[in-house]
Symmetry: C2
Subunit: 102 residues, 2 copies
DNA sequence: TTATATATATCGGATATCCTATATACATAA
DNA sequence: TTATGTATATAGGATATCCGATATATATAA
Protein backbone atom coordinates (compact mmCIF):
# COMPACT_ATOMS: atom_id res chain seq x y z
CA UNK A 1 0.00 0.00 0.00
CA UNK A 2 2.65 2.60 -0.89
CA UNK A 3 0.20 5.34 -1.61
CA UNK A 4 2.13 8.33 -0.36
CA UNK A 5 5.78 9.21 -0.54
CA UNK A 6 8.10 10.33 2.17
CA UNK A 7 6.84 13.86 2.57
CA UNK A 8 4.17 14.01 -0.06
CA UNK A 9 0.54 13.63 0.80
CA UNK A 10 -0.94 13.50 -2.67
CA UNK A 11 -0.05 13.99 -6.28
CA UNK A 12 -2.78 16.50 -7.01
CA UNK A 13 -3.73 14.91 -10.25
CA UNK A 14 -7.08 15.57 -11.77
CA UNK A 15 -6.47 19.26 -12.09
CA UNK A 16 -4.55 19.47 -15.32
CA UNK A 17 -7.64 20.28 -17.35
CA UNK A 18 -8.68 22.90 -14.84
CA UNK A 19 -5.26 24.53 -14.91
CA UNK A 20 -5.22 24.62 -18.69
CA UNK A 21 -8.61 26.30 -18.77
CA UNK A 22 -7.39 28.77 -16.18
CA UNK A 23 -4.26 29.67 -18.16
CA UNK A 24 -6.22 30.03 -21.39
CA UNK A 25 -8.81 32.19 -19.64
CA UNK A 26 -6.08 34.79 -19.21
CA UNK A 27 -4.67 34.68 -22.72
CA UNK A 28 -4.42 32.36 -25.73
CA UNK A 29 -1.39 30.10 -25.63
CA UNK A 30 0.08 27.16 -27.47
CA UNK A 31 1.01 23.79 -26.03
CA UNK A 32 4.60 24.48 -25.13
CA UNK A 33 3.76 27.81 -23.52
CA UNK A 34 1.23 26.03 -21.36
CA UNK A 35 3.71 23.30 -20.46
CA UNK A 36 6.33 25.90 -19.50
CA UNK A 37 3.88 27.85 -17.36
CA UNK A 38 2.86 24.64 -15.59
CA UNK A 39 6.53 23.85 -15.02
CA UNK A 40 6.94 27.16 -13.22
CA UNK A 41 3.89 26.55 -11.08
CA UNK A 42 4.08 22.88 -10.23
CA UNK A 43 7.82 22.44 -10.33
CA UNK A 44 7.87 19.81 -13.04
CA UNK A 45 7.07 20.17 -16.70
CA UNK A 46 4.37 17.93 -18.08
CA UNK A 47 5.61 15.71 -20.90
CA UNK A 48 4.26 15.92 -24.46
CA UNK A 49 2.33 12.73 -23.78
CA UNK A 50 0.57 14.54 -20.98
CA UNK A 51 -0.14 17.95 -22.41
CA UNK A 52 -1.29 17.12 -25.93
CA UNK A 53 -3.83 14.45 -25.07
CA UNK A 54 -5.19 16.86 -22.45
CA UNK A 55 -5.55 19.62 -25.05
CA UNK A 56 -7.16 17.19 -27.44
CA UNK A 57 -9.74 16.14 -24.86
CA UNK A 58 -10.57 19.72 -23.98
CA UNK A 59 -10.94 20.55 -27.64
CA UNK A 60 -13.08 17.45 -28.18
CA UNK A 61 -15.30 18.61 -25.31
CA UNK A 62 -15.76 21.96 -27.03
CA UNK A 63 -13.94 23.92 -24.35
CA UNK A 64 -11.24 25.33 -26.60
CA UNK A 65 -10.41 25.81 -30.25
CA UNK A 66 -7.41 26.41 -32.46
CA UNK A 67 -7.18 30.14 -32.82
CA UNK A 68 -4.14 30.27 -35.01
CA UNK A 69 -1.66 27.89 -36.56
CA UNK A 70 1.81 29.00 -37.63
CA UNK A 71 3.95 26.14 -38.77
CA UNK A 72 3.37 23.49 -36.16
CA UNK A 73 2.59 25.98 -33.47
CA UNK A 74 -1.09 25.93 -32.58
CA UNK A 75 -2.46 28.72 -30.43
CA UNK A 76 -5.51 27.73 -28.41
CA UNK A 77 -8.19 29.91 -26.90
CA UNK A 78 -11.26 29.24 -24.79
CA UNK A 79 -14.67 28.94 -26.38
CA UNK A 80 -17.68 30.48 -24.60
CA UNK A 81 -18.51 26.96 -23.54
CA UNK A 82 -15.01 26.60 -22.13
CA UNK A 83 -15.34 29.89 -20.27
CA UNK A 84 -18.55 28.68 -18.72
CA UNK A 85 -17.02 25.36 -17.73
CA UNK A 86 -14.07 27.16 -16.18
CA UNK A 87 -16.25 29.45 -14.11
CA UNK A 88 -18.31 26.56 -12.84
CA UNK A 89 -15.17 24.63 -11.93
CA UNK A 90 -13.66 27.71 -10.34
CA UNK A 91 -16.67 28.16 -8.09
CA UNK A 92 -16.44 24.58 -6.97
CA UNK A 93 -12.70 24.87 -6.51
CA UNK A 94 -13.09 28.01 -4.40
CA UNK A 95 -15.73 26.48 -2.18
CA UNK A 96 -13.80 23.25 -1.78
CA UNK A 97 -10.52 24.85 -0.76
CA UNK A 98 -11.95 27.68 1.27
CA UNK A 99 -9.50 28.52 4.02
CA UNK A 100 -6.59 26.53 2.64
CA UNK A 101 -4.94 29.65 1.29
CA UNK A 102 -4.71 32.31 3.95
CA UNK B 1 -13.02 9.78 -25.74
CA UNK B 2 -15.72 11.03 -23.37
CA UNK B 3 -13.32 12.55 -20.91
CA UNK B 4 -15.27 15.56 -19.79
CA UNK B 5 -18.94 16.02 -19.04
CA UNK B 6 -21.30 18.62 -20.30
CA UNK B 7 -20.11 21.55 -18.27
CA UNK B 8 -17.43 19.93 -16.18
CA UNK B 9 -13.79 20.31 -17.01
CA UNK B 10 -12.28 17.91 -14.51
CA UNK B 11 -13.13 15.84 -11.51
CA UNK B 12 -10.43 17.28 -9.27
CA UNK B 13 -9.42 13.94 -7.93
CA UNK B 14 -6.05 13.49 -6.33
CA UNK B 15 -6.74 16.01 -3.64
CA UNK B 16 -8.66 13.98 -1.13
CA UNK B 17 -5.58 13.27 0.95
CA UNK B 18 -4.61 16.92 0.88
CA UNK B 19 -8.07 17.99 2.00
CA UNK B 20 -8.10 15.48 4.84
CA UNK B 21 -4.75 16.76 6.09
CA UNK B 22 -6.05 20.30 5.83
CA UNK B 23 -9.17 19.54 7.87
CA UNK B 24 -7.21 17.66 10.51
CA UNK B 25 -4.69 20.49 10.72
CA UNK B 26 -7.47 22.64 12.14
CA UNK B 27 -8.85 20.13 14.63
CA UNK B 28 -9.01 16.38 15.29
CA UNK B 29 -11.98 14.72 13.64
CA UNK B 30 -13.36 11.27 12.99
CA UNK B 31 -14.19 9.77 9.62
CA UNK B 32 -17.82 10.79 9.40
CA UNK B 33 -17.08 14.34 10.49
CA UNK B 34 -14.52 14.59 7.72
CA UNK B 35 -16.94 13.13 5.18
CA UNK B 36 -19.64 15.61 6.23
CA UNK B 37 -17.27 18.55 5.98
CA UNK B 38 -16.19 17.44 2.51
CA UNK B 39 -19.84 17.13 1.55
CA UNK B 40 -20.36 20.78 2.44
CA UNK B 41 -17.34 21.85 0.47
CA UNK B 42 -17.46 19.72 -2.64
CA UNK B 43 -21.19 19.24 -2.89
CA UNK B 44 -21.12 15.48 -2.66
CA UNK B 45 -20.28 13.28 0.26
CA UNK B 46 -17.48 10.79 -0.23
CA UNK B 47 -18.62 7.22 0.31
CA UNK B 48 -17.26 4.98 3.06
CA UNK B 49 -15.28 3.16 0.37
CA UNK B 50 -13.57 6.45 -0.37
CA UNK B 51 -12.94 7.96 3.02
CA UNK B 52 -11.75 4.99 5.05
CA UNK B 53 -9.14 3.68 2.63
CA UNK B 54 -7.85 7.25 2.37
CA UNK B 55 -7.55 7.51 6.15
CA UNK B 56 -5.87 4.14 6.27
CA UNK B 57 -3.27 5.18 3.71
CA UNK B 58 -2.55 8.45 5.49
CA UNK B 59 -2.17 6.57 8.76
CA UNK B 60 0.05 3.99 7.09
CA UNK B 61 2.21 6.83 5.77
CA UNK B 62 2.59 8.15 9.31
CA UNK B 63 0.70 11.37 8.64
CA UNK B 64 -2.01 10.80 11.21
CA UNK B 65 -2.82 8.67 14.22
CA UNK B 66 -5.81 7.53 16.22
CA UNK B 67 -6.13 9.99 19.01
CA UNK B 68 -9.18 8.50 20.67
CA UNK B 69 -11.58 5.65 20.14
CA UNK B 70 -15.06 5.63 21.64
CA UNK B 71 -17.13 2.71 20.49
CA UNK B 72 -16.50 2.57 16.78
CA UNK B 73 -15.79 6.27 16.54
CA UNK B 74 -12.11 6.91 15.89
CA UNK B 75 -10.83 10.46 16.24
CA UNK B 76 -7.77 11.19 14.12
CA UNK B 77 -5.18 13.89 14.51
CA UNK B 78 -2.10 14.90 12.55
CA UNK B 79 1.33 13.71 13.56
CA UNK B 80 4.27 16.12 13.31
CA UNK B 81 5.18 14.28 10.13
CA UNK B 82 1.66 14.87 8.81
CA UNK B 83 1.91 18.56 9.68
CA UNK B 84 5.13 18.80 7.74
CA UNK B 85 3.66 16.97 4.74
CA UNK B 86 0.67 19.28 4.80
CA UNK B 87 2.76 22.41 4.83
CA UNK B 88 4.89 21.19 1.95
CA UNK B 89 1.78 20.28 -0.04
CA UNK B 90 0.19 23.60 0.83
CA UNK B 91 3.15 25.52 -0.50
CA UNK B 92 3.01 23.60 -3.74
CA UNK B 93 -0.75 24.04 -3.92
CA UNK B 94 -0.45 27.78 -3.37
CA UNK B 95 2.20 28.18 -6.01
CA UNK B 96 0.34 26.01 -8.50
CA UNK B 97 -2.97 27.81 -8.18
CA UNK B 98 -1.64 31.31 -7.77
CA UNK B 99 -4.14 33.71 -9.27
CA UNK B 100 -6.99 31.25 -9.61
CA UNK B 101 -8.71 32.61 -6.53
CA UNK B 102 -9.07 36.34 -6.69
C1' DT C 1 -34.06 -9.28 23.41
C1' DT C 2 -34.82 -7.28 19.06
C1' DA C 3 -34.50 -3.56 16.01
C1' DT C 4 -32.36 0.44 14.32
C1' DA C 5 -28.85 3.78 13.57
C1' DT C 6 -24.12 4.95 13.32
C1' DA C 7 -19.19 4.33 12.35
C1' DT C 8 -15.76 1.73 10.46
C1' DA C 9 -13.75 -1.65 7.12
C1' DT C 10 -12.53 -4.00 2.75
C1' DC C 11 -12.94 -6.02 -1.88
C1' DG C 12 -13.34 -5.45 -6.71
C1' DG C 13 -13.49 -2.77 -10.36
C1' DA C 14 -14.40 1.48 -13.28
C1' DT C 15 -12.19 5.41 -14.63
C1' DA C 16 -8.81 9.01 -15.25
C1' DT C 17 -4.28 10.82 -15.04
C1' DC C 18 0.07 10.77 -16.56
C1' DC C 19 4.44 9.14 -18.60
C1' DT C 20 7.73 6.67 -21.87
C1' DA C 21 8.78 5.97 -26.24
C1' DT C 22 8.19 6.95 -30.79
C1' DA C 23 6.81 9.40 -34.88
C1' DT C 24 5.79 13.40 -37.78
C1' DA C 25 5.93 18.15 -39.62
C1' DC C 26 7.81 22.60 -40.05
C1' DA C 27 11.52 26.20 -39.79
C1' DT C 28 16.03 27.56 -39.83
C1' DA C 29 21.05 27.20 -39.86
C1' DA C 30 25.11 25.23 -41.86
C1' DT D 1 20.74 19.82 -49.37
C1' DT D 2 21.53 18.29 -44.90
C1' DA D 3 21.30 18.82 -40.09
C1' DT D 4 19.28 20.55 -36.05
C1' DG D 5 15.80 22.32 -33.10
C1' DT D 6 11.03 22.98 -32.01
C1' DA D 7 6.11 21.82 -31.73
C1' DT D 8 2.73 18.57 -32.15
C1' DA D 9 0.76 13.76 -32.07
C1' DT D 10 -0.40 9.02 -30.52
C1' DA D 11 -0.05 4.28 -28.84
C1' DG D 12 0.52 1.54 -24.82
C1' DG D 13 0.67 0.93 -20.28
C1' DA D 14 1.64 1.86 -15.15
C1' DT D 15 -0.48 3.83 -11.42
C1' DA D 16 -3.75 6.16 -8.44
C1' DT D 17 -8.23 7.83 -7.21
C1' DC D 18 -12.57 6.89 -6.13
C1' DC D 19 -16.99 4.50 -5.73
C1' DG D 20 -20.55 0.64 -5.22
C1' DA D 21 -21.56 -3.18 -2.66
C1' DT D 22 -21.11 -5.56 1.30
C1' DA D 23 -19.79 -6.75 5.99
C1' DT D 24 -18.85 -5.92 10.91
C1' DA D 25 -19.02 -3.77 15.48
C1' DT D 26 -20.98 -0.69 18.85
C1' DA D 27 -24.66 2.05 21.03
C1' DT D 28 -29.29 3.03 21.87
C1' DA D 29 -34.29 2.67 21.57
C1' DA D 30 -38.40 -0.12 21.65
Amino acid sequence: MPRYGDEECCDMRGLLGFLILFLLSKKPMHGQEIADELAKRRGDKPSPGTIYPALKSLKYAGFLREEEKVGKTITYSLTPRGMKAFHIAKRRFTRTFLGVLS
